[in-house]
Amino acid sequence: MSESSVRNMQFFTAFTDEPLPLDGGQLLSNVTISYETYGTLNSSHSNAVLVCHPLSGDSHASSLNTPGDPGWWDTMIGENKPIDTNRYFVICTNVIGGCKGSTGPASINPLTQVPFGLNFPVVTIGDMVNVQYELIRHLGIDVLHCVIGGSMGGMQALEWAIKFPNHVRSVVPIAATARLSPQSLAFDAVGRNAIILDQSWNNGFYYGLTDQPEKGLAIARMIGHITYLSDEAMTLKFGRNLQKKTDYGYDFSTDFQVESYLKYQGEKFVSRFDANSYLYLTKAISYFDLYKKYDGLENAFKSSTARFLIISISSDWLYPSKQSKDIVKSLMKINKDVSFAEIQSPYGHDAFLMPCPDLEQLVTHFLGHHVTS
């Protein structure tokens, strides 16, 4: 049985008549977006919540329809959970450029009948959101109750508030930023280099070949994973503990638990992710710059009408709290409805993917306050 039938994954193809003009200047036709939904759309179509996934996520946000197959945000989505599926119609899409059902570099190029590879155009967070908008309209939804997401998902939520002010009532960007710091850009660049310098990458045309750029992708994932944790989280989880050893090996095998963990994370990742998608998505994240794109944050949000709840994580050094606060301050300056909370957690950037009572309460109350009819 295929993954999609188990997971109730659905597909929608947009831009069949007119192509999607991408931020990079190219055109993309017949853009397919994969998605899952949870809960029921009410009669006034006013209870829809769009959940946006982070870099390595997909449309399978919840195990609600598929017990035993965990979703990446089961802590937040489900019956009587913060994004309560008894109350809200929850939609989660795979972003374009991804590799979980939506059009991306591994998709078949209709012109050549072989996978796009590097012929796939570079897409931006804005492009991803434009395709999501088409899906939302296709589902008969005019106004989303909320767009919520963490990290790259939070960037999408911000773009929604800017691009479609009349179609979103509230947005919750978590552990997000309006643009990456040079340090974060650097980590993404190293990850991409690890893939590009893997001989098996073959300039992006490795589909169908025996050799896959697994080493490069695994290293990229390992680097990424370091940035998603924090020094404190690693100390709590591993310390300097040795992996199945009582003393150092005095060789170059795996000594430390933290080494073993990263290796495991890297190996696990290559079986479920496409190396080219990793390149495209980290590029989209790196290009994301609301200051540049809209000539300053205040200008970016001037037409937004959504209520904002911006949440940062105290130990996040990838997209630190200060970057969230800068967004909030710009919104306050232009008199927008905005709240800001900082979650105290030692777990770093990825804390929003773990059980986190403070986050759960914030979202429960924020979503519940402006009740839909």
């Binding site: 709840l309 306050m332 409805d337 709240s339 800001f340 900082e342 309460q361 109350h365 306050h369």
Partner: protein
């Protein structure tokens, strides 16, 4: 009527319909929430405590988790009609700076602080104890209060800074009767402060 409730009502009474309000140290959002429902104000609360933020979000208020200095410096001149600082002046490190910032971003500042020269406080000092009252509920070792301020002190500071002040006298009959001696009889100082003359009633 509890003291807290009385203060809240006084603040609400001072603020006209539709004002733009900034509440520094907004706590659980009581004042903002009432102002929003009875006076249709809009604005923000600032508090450093997560539980306060959560409570405000429950009430549908706009809040910023952070310290007062940080919250204030972002706003441009004259953004607000009223900036409230209730029971917090005695806890800030740079009170005069905070006040000048309040009067930069707002037209009027509403400032409420526990009056250390209240007779019950004086009495406890005379008996050799650090004062503890409903307005000063802490022990010496766990108090967040770092500034010892009296109504007279506040007056002289405002005079020095050329601020215009209007004192709101607490409602108990004794202090009303003896308002000239509020520094002795009033447990709190409550003031509306502005830079120029012409405080609205």
């Amino acid at each position: 009527m509890s003291h807290r409730k009385w203060l809240t009502e006084q603040i609400i009474g001072l603020i006209p319909h539709g004002s733009r309000v900034l509440d520094l140290g907004c706590g659980n959002g009581d004042v903002l929430s009432k102002l929003k429902s009875s006076k249709q104000i809009n604005g923000y609360g600032i508090d450093c405590n997560f539980d306060s933020i959560l409570s405000c979000i429950k009430h549908g208020l706009n809040v910023f988790q952070g310290n007062i200095d940080e919250g204030l410096k972002e706003f441009s001149d004259g953004t607000f009609d009223y900036v409230i600082l209730s029971q917090t002046l005695q806890q800030v490190r740079r009170p005069t700076f905070v006040m000048s910032e309040m009067l930069r971003v707002g037209k009027y500042a509403i400032i409420i602080f526990p009056n250390f020269a209240y007779w019950k406080n004086r009495l406890q000092f005379m008996l050799g104890k650090s004062p503890r009252t409903p307005e000063l509920p802490y022990h010496w070792h766990n108090t967040p209060n770092i500034r010892v301020v009296t109504i007279n002190d506040f007056y002289s500071m405002c005079k020095k800074k050329k601020y215009v002040t209007q004192q709101i006298i607490p409602g108990n009959w004794l202090s009303k009767l003896l308002n000239r001696w509020s520094n002795f009889f009033s447990p709190v100082g409550m003031f509306v402060v502005c830079k120029e003359s012409g405080i609205k009633q």
